[in-house]
């Protein structure tokens, strides 16, 4: 959904986010929704400005979100509050699952298919009965077993369903059994949220969802930074799909992402496991040895992803140009293959284990922003060389001079052999290019001023580095050097600094026909025969014609207009502002209600029309049904009332047969470090969580008395993430000058800590000192009859810039979400005491 669409919501639950403080300008749409009559809720361990601006604040213990959301699912199902016409037509609620499926209720916290030796699941028993369902998400396709080639069963007929919902293994019945024990009493016991508060929120969403009313969730890293982060979001997806709050005005789940182009760097990824716009990076252990095998195993039989071959061949043409031919698999063998997880956390360990020789840090500062940063510093010290590109000195760049280990006398600069380069970088106003915001809005920024001195854009750096490398490899005859020789690397340069033209790069991302280099108008024009080149199919249409850079378009709707602002920048895909907006109309193609209309079928014109660009085949009739006798593939296998076109049968997945490493339904686990036992199952934590226990990265046991407090980390309005960017800006730094820990008065009294006095926090990973902020914004929880204290620290400080303090992430361990390898920063345990830490001080007044 578009950010501004939140103003159309009848309720908004902000959970796992402190939106008013961390996405302040987005929060104004909640304020507007409230002005129009919406009810706002904040579910969060801390009472913040978000809670203060909401109608209800529900405190929960960090990490207990699935118990809370599971309780909502229980309430909706048992009270029959779900939007029947929506969910029966558009979700897999009636689909029948394999007989062999066994629920964690039977397995004491573990789903069927678990292999305790390997620590992972086989998904066989989670499939639709008699079918093999491919995962729609490339990131997950690449990790699980490859199902593309076997997904033919999806083209042979629809998955078995029981519209009466009586079949014991239909998704409805499975969910009822799965969530039977997520009662309000249990929610209170696990989360610490009073049951009346919890129930008032359930009533709110149940009464304000349906044909006429919609609501939304808004979340940030408070949901993702757990070992079960994907499953928290999934739980909200189930709530929203049951209530009909998907693809409709004011309905949805708003991911409030962090950095300016964090969405863009996910789409056009500097990520290890994907090629641009969600194509899987080939993997040596999958059926990817040749392009044919890769395409066969990655192309699902049904749904939009059936177009996969067009996208990968067009990408190869964009990268290798005339060196990509049918005879050489379009250059497929030049693309390196993965042999395992090399995401940031394993990368950190690889550095500390000496596997990496050289490392680039391009606008990222892991010595502050990563977890277990003492271990990160050890890794940096083992590199042969490293390159840092930033606008000011970062803690990563000068770890060898001022790092934690130097401060504490554990190492001396003379002992560290790393060769370090610091290149000054340009900021947005000093260079042209696009960034993609949290609701997929691709916006161009102009180069208005000059970057100072030797500062250059990262485009300049990478382009000129590439030119030099191409020169160095020009004479080689070794086959391993063919890729760099074959790479197309020719962009026009501007001015005496020879700045490459970012628009030329954006045009390559948009795509063009090879013969005449004419820009393609959209991704429907892409082919799998080598006649088109495209660097990122989902962005096609951002530059549909020479001279027409849609990311530069600045034509907002007038007051009283449709409010989708289709003339303001470009939203991928195809400038759609709300994904899956076919669901905003009923199965017959009529808006669910006048108040909540978005797109609809126009019988006269024979096409979909409305206030947004339809996220559907424009001329597919609502009554179109696949002709199964013809073995339909791709979009032909999806009916005119199947809105979720990226899914293999166009239905929203309440129950996910493929693509999740840790189970088809969200189920409650405790954080890896928790003061209490899991009240639901004997299985304490996510059995598939990624754990790398090694010296320096130890975890605390359940209820370890040495580390009795629940710790969460957060950031501040004035200081942005780990970057020095806001710590070097004089007035934002002045507003938040120094690191602190928030704790409740009861705990302060118990420990003899005074407001603004020094405290020391510790874990098995390390120790930091900060000033105390004693505040009633935090209250002790009663969990399972026990008093549990929750405390919080901002993680945005370091020793550079004007605003300083100990690096909080020294306390954190390297552990990963089962699906995404995201680290845990939101729920762990620690110790806290009055007084300063041992060793050399690094506090702001340490000189």
């Amino acid at each position: 959904m578009a950010l501004w669409d939140l103003a159309n919501s009848d309720w908004v639950i902000t959970m796992g986010s402190n939106m008013a403080e961390n996405h302040p300008i987005a929060f104004r749409f909640l304020v507007e929704a409230k002005r129009r009559g919406a009810t706002l809720v904040h579910v969060d361990p801390r009472y913040t400005r978000t809670g203060a601006n909401c109608d209800i604040h529900a405190p929960i213990r960090s990490g207990s979100d699935i118990a809370f959301l599971g309780g909502m699912i229980h309430y909706i199902l048992e009270g029959d509050h779900w939007f029947r016409d929506f969910a029966l037509a558009y979700t897999n609620i009636a689909h029948i699952i394999e007989d062999a499926y066994a629920d964690p209720e039977q397995g004491d916290g573990v789903f069927s298919g678990f292999d305790p030796q390997q620590g992972d699941y086989s998904e066989e028993s989670w499939q639709y009965k008699g079918k093999i369902v491919p995962s729609p998400i490339a990131e997950h396709r690449v990790q699980g077993e490859q199902k593309g080639a076997q997904s033919e069963s999806m083209a042979e007929g629809p998955p078995p369903q029981d519209p009466t919902l009586q079949h014991p293994n239909c998704v409805y019945q499975i969910m009822r059994r799965h969530y039977a024990r997520y009662t309000p009493e249990m929610v209170e016991q696990v989360t610490g949220c009073p049951r009346e508060t919890f129930l008032s929120i359930c009533e709110l969403v149940a009464q304000n969802s349906g044909r006429d009313r919609t609501g939304a969730f808004a979340y940030a890293v408070g949901w993702t930074h757990h070992t079960y982060g994907v499953q928290i979001i999934r739980a909200a997806t189930i709530v929203q799909s049951l209530l009909g709050n998907v693809g409709r005005p004011g309905g949805g789940i708003m991911a409030l992402r962090g950095h300016t182009s964090i969405q863009g760097s996910t789409d056009i990824p500097t990520l290890y496991n994907m090629l641009p716009t969600y194509l899987p990076q080939p993997n040596a252990f999958h059926d990817h040895a040749t392009l044919d095998r890769y395409i066969a195993s990655e192309t699902p039989a049904t749904g939009w992803w059936h177009n996969f071959p067009k996208y990968i061949v067009s990408l190869l043409k964009a990268w290798y140009g005339e060196n990509a031919t049918a005879a050489n698999e379009w250059g497929y063998q030049h693309i390196p293959k993965l042999t395992g997880d090399v995401s940031q956390l394993p990368m950190t360990l690889a550095m500390s284990n000496g596997v990496v020789k050289g490392q680039f840090f391009i606008g990222q500062n892991p010595v502050v922003g990563a977890v277990n940063t003492a271990l990160v510093e050890k890794g940096l010290a083992r590199l042969e060389w490293m390159v840092v590109r930033d606008i000011a000195m970062t803690e990563t760049a000068n770890f060898w001079q001022k790092g934690n280990r130097i401060q504490r006398g554990e190492a001396r600069p003379e002992e560290i052999g790393t060769e370090v380069f610091f290149f000054p970088a340009a900021l947005a106003a000093e260079k042209g290019g696009t960034v993609t915001n949290t609701s997929r809005l691709v916006q161009w920024h102009d180069a208005v001023c000059e970057p100072p001195g030797s500062s250059r854009s990262d485009l300049w750096f990478i382009y000129h580095l590439g030119r030099r490398l191409k020169q160095l490899y020009a004479g080689s005859t070794a086959p391993r050097d063919r890729a760099i020789q074959a790479l197309t690397w020719d962009y026009p340069m501007m001015g005496d600094k020879q700045e490459p033209d970012a628009e030329a790069v954006l045009q390559e991302i948009n795509g063009y026909t090879v013969a005449d280099r004419k820009l393609v108008p959209n991704y429907q024009a892409l082919k799998d025969d080598g006649s088109t080149a495209c660097g990122g199919w989902m962005y096609s249409g951002v530059f549909p014609k020479e001279g027409q850079n849609q990311a530069r378009s600045r034509r907002p709707d007038k007051p009283g207009g449709p409010g989708s602002h289709l003339g303001w920048a470009f939203a991928w895909p195809s400038n759609r502002r709300t994904l899956y907006n076919r669901a905003s109309a009923d199965p017959e193609g009529r808006p669910w209600s006048e108040r909540k209309k978005m797109i609809w079928w126009d019988e006269g014109q024979g096409k979909w029309t409305g206030l947004d660009v339809p996220d559907f085949e424009p001329e597919k009739r609502p009554d179109y049904r696949p002709d199964w006798s013809k073995n339909p593939h791709g979009m032909e296998a999806l009916g005119g009332a199947d809105p979720f076109i990226m899914e293999p049968d166009g239905q929203s997945m309440l129950f996910v047969p493929s693509g999740l490493k840790d189970g088809p339904l969200p189920t409650y686990y405790e954080p890896l470090e928790s003061p209490v036992r899991n009240p639901f199952y004997r299985q304490q934590a996510n059995p598939t969580a990624k754990i790398w226990e090694q010296p320096g990265n130890e975890l605390h046991g359940i209820g370890d008395p040495r580390f009795p407090y629940v710790l969460t980390t957060f950031r501040l309005t004035e200081l942005h993430c780990g970057g020095v960017m806001s710590r070097i800006a004089p007035h934002t730094a002045e507003l938040q000058p120094e690191a602190f820990v928030e704790l409740p008065p009861e705990l302060a009294r118990e420990l003899g800590i005074e407001h603004l006095g020094w405290t020391t926090l510790s874990t098995l990973r390390g120790e930091v000192e900060m000033r105390a902020m004693v505040t009633e914004r935090l209250t002790p929880f009663e969990i399972n009859g026990r008093r549990v204290y929750q405390i919080g620290v901002p993680w945005v400080y370091g020793w550079e810039g004007y605003a300083r303090g100990d690096v909080a992430n020294v306390l954190l361990a390297i552990t990963g979400d089962a699906n995404t390898s995201i680290h845990t920063t939101k729920a762990l345990t620690c110790n806290l005491r009055a007084g300063r830490r041992a060793g050399t001080r690094s506090g702001p007044d340490a000189g």
Partner: protein, 197 residues
């Protein structure tokens, strides 16, 4: 003496007439006439001196607020929220409003710095020298660590000896070229950014 006194009284009266506070206290709007004074009349907006204005996007968070950047002689002199944007309608949060302070921060570095192995201090180096040295080191590390096949014969054509971290603060075009060169050209697979975390 009387003349002097009259002159002072006259100046005092003029000052009182010019001073905006009494008019505001008397109920006139502080947003219009009652905000006027000789001083305010002589104030000129900073952005009048600008020789260039362009649209930018706030460099901090993913809300994507639009900014108008005013520059003079290639230097920024003023930044404000773009009133046309449906995202922010002219508003900015404290970070966005502090963007000029970031661009002009005395703590910005505009020289290439180099730290030799085991050195205790930074040195300044020319950009061209550093670019060539990094290109050479990249080639050397790649050549030493490149793997064409696994022991069982599977083709991988990759290196895990060089890594790259960062991207969420960069432009799409920059990320595209980083992935293209490092992955598609050099065979690096350890490429990550803040999006995962």
């Amino acid at each position: 003496m009387a003349k002097l006194r009259r002159g002072m009284a006259g100046r005092g009266a003029r000052f009182l007439k010019d001073w905006s506070l009494p008019r505001q206290l008397a109920g006139e709007s502080p947003m219009s006439t009652a905000a006027r004074s000789t001083t305010s009349e002589n104030l000129r907006p900073r952005l009048e001196q600008a020789d260039r204005v362009g649209t930018s996007i706030c460099p901090f968070c993913a809300v994507g607020c639009s900014q108008l950047v005013y520059a003079k002689n290639g230097k920024p002199i003023h930044i404000e929220g773009d009133p046309r944007s449906p995202v922010n309608q002219g508003t900015l949060c404290p970070k966005g409003a502090g963007t000029l302070g970031v661009l002009l921060s005395p703590q910005r570095i505009n020289k290439v710095l180099y730290r030799a192995p085991h050195a205790t201090e930074w040195e300044e180096r020319p950009l061209d020298w550093a670019m060539e040295r990094v290109a050479q080191l990249t080639k050397q590390a790649r050549d030493e660590t490149f793997v064409e096949r696994l022991p069982d014969g599977k083709v991988v054509n990759h290196t895990i000896g060089i890594g790259s971290l960062g991207g969420a603060t960069l432009d799409n075009e920059e990320n595209y070229l980083i992935k293209k060169l490092f992955n598609g050209g050099l065979g690096m697979v350890t490429i990550e950014n803040q999006a995962r975390i």
